[in-house]
């Protein structure tokens, strides 16, 4: 017999932390995977000056002349080709533009105007050929080149990945975990004890917040060290949104996991919830690219205000006060989903 007291909340949190850190594969997916995403996407989309412009010159007497005129600029990567070959190379994206030269001189450009590289090639090639044909520039110009950190794709991407991690963590770390415990009849076993239900749910939430801190810190630190991504605004404001986001998505996770009794059901529900936000909320590209008609819908999804707020703080240095609409939307989602899941929660 002992009357020694143990804190149930402390024990519940401790149990979750132990379970989490004793599963290396889970730790990798939570902490390692977002870093790999940053590395892969940061390298793939690093902003760099355009190295070369692929130009096909159709064979012929005048073609040789054009070829010679263009070869003065090392940016042009030139191919002499017959008409069929030129079309094929253009169609498959190996070159950006085809020049057909005739006496005169007269030039026909073949290209796809919807491809930015082709449009650029059209301007540069025309410029070079016009000058070779004797055009003189009417005005003197000077180029000043600026490549600012904060305006690169990686800067845009990091807040999106932060928010995506918070969404996935809330749904997996709360929703899936609870369903797994329900399937194992562990929830039923717990309520067969005098355990207080709110302490159990608080334990899940608190452990989720604890897992999240290293996740966010690692991602921000890595982005800074590897790519020089800087937080323009207050770090405290970033943390406020990180916790608000974690709270909101924990609430959504709780709701998703409140009744499901099989892994299939909860996986399906989680995809149903996450997929629209992955696509629409602007993790990888601005959500403003979608038509104006769907913008109100996109803006009310919980991930959108979280991404927008994190970007505003990290990239533009906005204050918490300026971002009150995002705070309101996120809080509303969190409170409503929590209330509903407590109402519908199934322990067995």
């Amino acid at each position: 017999m002992s009357t020694e007291q143990y804190s149930p909340l402390g024990q519940l949190v401790l149990a979750r932390l132990r379970e989490f850190f004793r599963q290396p594969e889970v730790v990798f997916w939570v902490y390692g995977f977002p870093l790999l995403m940053v590395v892969a996407l940061g390298i793939a989309f690093r902003n760099k000056p355009i190295e070369h412009i692929g130009v096909g010159v159709q064979q012929g007497e005048q073609g040789e002349v054009a070829n010679k005129a263009l070869s003065a600029d090392p940016k042009f990567q030139l191919r002499l080709c017959d008409p069929n070959e030129c079309r094929l190379l253009l169609r498959t994206g190996k070159i950006d533009l085809v020049v057909i030269a005739a006496a005169g001189p007269h030039y026909d450009y073949f290209y796809d105007p919807t491809r930015p590289e082709s449009a650029l090639a059209r301007t540069r090639v025309d410029d070079a050929l016009q000058r070779a044909a004797g055009r003189k520039d009417a005005a003197a110009v000077g180029d000043v080149e600026l490549t600012e950190t904060g305006a690169r794709y990686i800067d845009f991407l990091v807040p999106g990945l932060l928010a995506m991690g918070l969404m996935g963590g809330g749904l997996w770390g709360v929703g899936f975990v609870i369903v797994d415990m329900r399937i194992r009849k562990l929830l039923k076993r717990f309520i067969a004890t005098p355990m207080k239900k709110h302490q159990f749910l608080a334990g899940i939430m608190i452990s989720r917040f604890i897992f999240m801190v290293p996740e966010i810190a690692l991602l921000l630190l890595f982005a800074r060290l590897a790519f020089g991504v800087q937080v323009q605004g207050s770090l405290l404001t970033v943390m406020v949104f990180v916790f608000l986001g974690a709270f909101t998505f924990a609430g959504i996770g709780l709701l998703v996991g409140s009744r499901a009794k099989t892994v299939e059901t909860v996986s399906g529900l989680m995809n149903l919830v996450m997929l629209p936000m992955w696509i629409l909320s602007g993790i990888f590209f601005s959500s403003e690219r979608f038509p104006a008609a769907v913008q109100p819908f996109i803006n009310i999804l919980p991930l959108t205000p979280l991404i927008n707020a994190l970007r505003a703080v990290i990239l533009e240095g906005h204050s918490l006060f300026q971002l009150w609409p995002q705070v309101v939307i996120l809080t509303a989602w969190g409170v409503v989903t929590f209330a509903l899941s407590l109402k519908w929660f199934r322990w067995m």
Binding site: M1, S2, T3, E4, Y6, S7, P8, G10, Q11, L12, L14, A15, R18, E19, R22, Q23, R184, K185, L186, K188, R189, F190, I191, A192, T193, P194, M195, M348
Partner: protein
């Protein structure tokens, strides 16, 4: 004797396309300090009954009283004083035995120290082992330790030894007996008649959601009339008419005769009186025995004589 559990006219209906009546008017009274068993085939309603008493399921109708308290009024108070082992709980595989017990201990106002609980189920050496590394018997002992950790007055065990090997079963029986020696109450369900006979002071045999008989294993067996059973089967008698149970019911000392799948079972008071008469009767009818055994009557025989089915037949409709 004060009563630890009382159920009256318990009914549980699972609604659905075809509603299932799992429990249909069940009455029970379990006295303090006894080990009480619910014995019956799979699907008889044992688990539904015990889970209603444990406060995990709500009955469709009927009353339950546990330690003189009622569910819905004093839930926390009851939970502090009972210990439960469910039929299938997968405890967290990545937690150690000690960590698991400490977690469960934290839910109770008072109870055993985790080390004391481990000692009761002989798992001290496994204190630091992860639950996922334990054998089936060790896992089941841990589940019982989790039920004991709050030092309960009343212990519920649902099928505590199902799927375990004989040695692991005996270890669990010892743990349950030791708990009972402290004057505490145990309620368990089982479909093993030997478990009920060895462990339980009283047994309720449950079939189709009702108690069909209740009493100590001895009383129930004695109610058969004969405490011994003679089992025998016959060789194929070429052309002779089949032997019928009524051909044997007039033998001296025979209380009942059963024919089941070619096997005759005679419940008799004294084997040495009946057996010579039986052999003589078979000789007169020119029949030869293929096999012959005599044994003590068991709860299985009680069940068969009451339902015409074996416990193992499970939930097959009859």
């Amino acid at each position: 004797m004060p009563v630890a559990i009382r159920c009256s006219n318990l009914v549980k209906r699972y609604e659905g396309k075809t509603p299932v009546d799992a429990v249909r008017g069940l009455d029970l009274a379990v006295e303090e300090g006894e080990c009480f068993g619910l014995l019956g085939p799979n699907g008889a309603g044992k688990t539904t009954t015990i889970e209603i008493i444990e406060g995990l399921l709500a009955p469709t109708s009927g009353d339950v009283e546990v330690l003189s308290m009622k569910w819905g009024h004093q839930d926390t108070e009851i939970r502090q004083r009972i210990g439960i082992s469910l039929q299938e709980t997968k405890l967290s595989e990545k937690l150690s035995v000690l960590e698991t017990l400490t977690l469960f201990r934290s839910f109770y106002r008072q109870g055993l120290a985790p080390s004391e609980a481990m000692q009761r189920v002989s798992l001290e050496e496994k204190a630091a082992a992860w639950v996922g590394k334990l054998s089936g018997g060790q896992k089941q002992r841990l589940a019982v330790a989790c039920a004991l950790i709050g030092d309960p007055d009343l212990l519920f065990l649902d099928e505590p030894t199902t799927g375990l090997d004989p040695q692991a079963r005996r270890q669990l029986w010892d743990i349950i007996r030791n708990f009972g020696k402290q004057g505490r109450t145990v309620m368990l369900t089982t479909h093993y008649m030997d478990e009920a006979e060895k462990l339980c002071d009283r047994v309720a045999i449950v079939d189709h959601g009702k108690v069909i008989t209740i009493g100590s294993p001895r009383e129930l067996i004695a109610s058969l009339g004969g405490e011994h059973i003679i089992d025998f089967s016959l060789l194929n008698g070429n052309g002779t008419p089949a032997l019928q149970p009524y051909d044997l019911s007039d033998l001296p000392g025979v209380q009942s005769v059963r024919l089941d799948d070619g096997q005759f079972s005679l419940a008799v008071a004294e084997v040495h009186v009946t057996l010579p008469a039986l052999l003589k009767r078979l000789k007169d009818k020119s029949r030869d025995m293929a096999s012959l055994t005599t044994r003590h009557a068991s709860l299985e025989d009680v069940f068969v004589s009451l339902t015409g089915r074996h416990l193992r037949d499970g939930d097959a409709p009859s």
